[in-house]
């Protein structure tokens, strides 16, 4: 163990800083959670007070459950997020492998072209995308969203993953080739497990924007049966009156699945961040 880490003062300061940061980061979540269990008046009178016997109310949750098909929205969001992540990771990793492993004409150009999307926001093409979806009859289907999010996530995924795949030992891949493994087996069995931390990083970076997105669900899939959670929650936010109980309750419930997915990826993520430093 190095000196800086074993020094108790340094340790205390480091932990202090981390704890303060954690509190700051968790504070909004905490406020949302406690207020979701309070009645409307108390939310505005004492936003920071914990719910007590007087102010406690589950009216927000009840409204959410009654209004609209909350579980369907929930399910839609989940399907869209998970499917998009799956395709981003699968196609991103495959493209990254091709770019990093094989020498072919235009390799560099192809890499640049694929990375270009990092700088150009996909929303610029909204009108064209909508026209395309209408033409293919995909409007108001979850596929419309999945395809758009996959396209949106691919550039960064290819960029990050190809960097990591370059570091996978050539000898290992060559050993596989000599042992008669196919290129697909080498990719899925040897290379992918070694870049798992990078995949988790890509997954986390992509997950939250997809889960929170309002733009594309509103434009491409506003039908009742394809509404996502974010879009579904909008019914409570009116131009003149907003049902804060319902909004806060819906938000509280929307945090949960992201949290679960994050916990799943985070172990890998931490390994990804520290993989260069440790070892």
């Amino acid at each position: 163990m190095n000196k800086a880490r074993s020094n108790p003062l340094n340790t205390a300061m480091m932990h202090g800083a981390l704890i303060v940061y954690t509190l700051i980061a968790l504070f909004p979540v905490f406020v949302i959670l406690i207020n979701s269990f309070k009645e409307r008046r108390s939310i505005f009178r004492e936003p920071l007070a914990l719910p007590n016997s007087e102010s406690f109310s589950t009216i927000g949750y009840e409204t959410v459950m009654q209004q609209g098909d909350f579980f369907l929205y929930f399910q839609n969001s989940m399907i869209v997020t998970v499917a998009s992540l799956f395709f981003v990771l699968l196609f991103g990793a495959m493209a990254a492998y091709a770019l990093s492993e094989y020498r072919f004409k235009g390799n560099m150009l192809m890499g640049l072209y694929l990375a270009l999307g990092i700088m150009i926001p996909i929303r610029i093409g909204t009108v064209a995308i909508l026209e395309m979806m209408v033409a293919t009859g995909l409007v108001n289907t979850l596929w419309a969203l999945i395809l758009v999010y996959t396209a949106q996530g691919l550039p960064l995924a290819v960029f990050i993953l190809s960097e990591f795949m370059r570091q996978v030992s050539d000898d290992l891949k060559n050993a596989g080739r000599i042992d008669g493994l196919s290129e697909y087996t080498i990719f899925f069995r040897l290379v992918l497990p070694l870049v798992r931390p990078a995949m988790a990083t890509v997954a986390v970076f992509n997950m939250i924007p997809i889960w929170n997105d309002l733009w594309f669900p509103l434009i491409l899939a506003p039908a009742e049966e394809t509404k996502t959670l974010t879009l579904g929650s909008q019914v409570f936010i009116g131009q003149f009156v907003t049902d804060w109980n319902a909004v806060l309750s819906a938000l509280s419930m929307a945090i949960l699945p992201v949290l679960v997915l994050y916990v799943i990826f985070s172990r890998q993520l931490i390994r990804g961040i520290t993989s260069g430093a440790v070892k």
């Binding site: 030992s169 000898d171 290992l172 060559n174 050993a175 596989g176 080739r177 000599i178 042992d179 008669g180 493994l181 069995r189 040897l190 497990p193 070694l194």
Partner: protein, 331 residues
């Protein structure tokens, strides 16, 4: 019969011409070592033989068949890598059996070969362990075991010992020599290490800048180097070169004398100032400056030579080599 035969093999990476007209014949059961300075194309040549890189031109035959278009797994070769390259997700047994399973060998054949190889390499206690749970030497043995179970016609080793410490390297070197005798298969071995090259090889190939400088048995190369490069490359400490003019007036050739052929003599032709002395017990290496040239004398036994001392050295004219200005051997 020839186990491997290369005809005018060339390899370029884009504009970079790495292998230039390589011609080589390896007989069945021969142990051939590739040596050469870093970046001369040893690994590339090995990878071309393995089929991991395509030759730009030329013909590669393994066991008589042209294999230019054959994928690596069907060439009847096995390769041991410098970095071991064990599959991290498989245990030792899995690592050793993967290729056989791919070939579709029967369970009993696989079991028998793993048994045999693990006995040869003392790997029996580790068969269920994962690579991350093994020491460097054990990993190296697994890598060799993975090659052995395939029973190839030709083994390819790319600096297999360079990640091991000195003692282990010597043991493994002896093991590899024993394996070669036991298996009787042809082996090609790339190394930086003089000792490995001299002790293991039936034949040595000296490469420079993608060209074969000389091909022959270790003693042929040592006693009869084709040029100044080979002469300087083999032997440790390496051969001394100095202008022949220092010995005989008006001679513009280069003279080469091996350190062990130099001895101290009162009436020696060469007068040098000692700059450093290495006392190894059995030998004493004297490094001295001869005008602008550094020369090394390897004296047998222990000598009381001091730094800064003026020394007269001599050698038997018969043991000297002569090279022209381009480095070609004259006699």
């Amino acid at each position: 019969m020839t186990a491997l035969s290369l005809k005018n093999v060339n390899k370029s990476f884009g504009d970079v011409h790495v292998l230039k007209d390589i011609n080589l014949d390896v007989d069945e059961g021969e142990f051939v070592v590739f040596v050469g300075p870093s970046g001369c194309g040893k690994s590339t040549l090995l990878r071309v033989i393995a089929g991991l890189e395509d030759a730009t031109s030329g013909e590669i035959r393994i066991g008589g068949d042209v294999v230019n278009l054959t994928p690596p797994s069907k060439r009847g070769i096995a390769m041991v890598f410098q970095s071991y390259a064990l599959y991290p997700h498989l245990n030792v047994r899995g690592n050793m059996t993967l290729a056989l399973k791919q070939e579709g060998q029967s369970k009993s054949v696989i079991e028998e070969r793993v048994q045999k190889a693990s006995r040869m390499l003392n790997l029996e206690p580790y068969l269920e362990r994962y690579p991350s749970e093994l020491s460097g030497g054990q990993r190296q043995r697994v890598a060799i075991g993975r090659a052995i179970v395939r029973e190839p016609e030709l083994f390819l080793f790319d600096e297999p010992l360079s990640n091991l410490d000195a003692a282990l390297r010597m043991n493994t070197r002896i093991e590899i020599a024993a394996l070669h005798k036991q298996l009787g298969a042809s082996m090609i071995y790339v190394t930086h290490d003089q000792t490995e090259a001299m002790t293991l090889a039936d034949k040595i190939v000296v490469l420079r800048d993608g060209r074969v400088e000389q091909f022959g048995s270790p003693m042929e190369l040592y006693n009869n180097p084709a040029n100044q490069f080979v002469a300087g490359f083999l032997g440790s400490p390496s051969m001394n070169f100095f202008p022949a003019g220092l010995v005989s007036e008006g001679d513009d050739r280069t003279m080469g004398v091996r350190p062990e052929d130099l001895f101290i003599a009162e009436d020696g032709l060469l007068s040098a100032r000692v700059s450093h002395v290495e006392k190894l017990g059995g030998d004493t290496n004297v490094i001295a400056r001869l005008n602008d040239h550094q020369i090394t004398a390897r004296l047998f036994g222990q000598h009381s030579v001091e730094e800064g001392e003026e020394l007269r050295l001599s050698f038997n004219p018969q043991s000297a080599y002569h090279f022209d200005q381009q480095g070609a051997r004259l006699y």
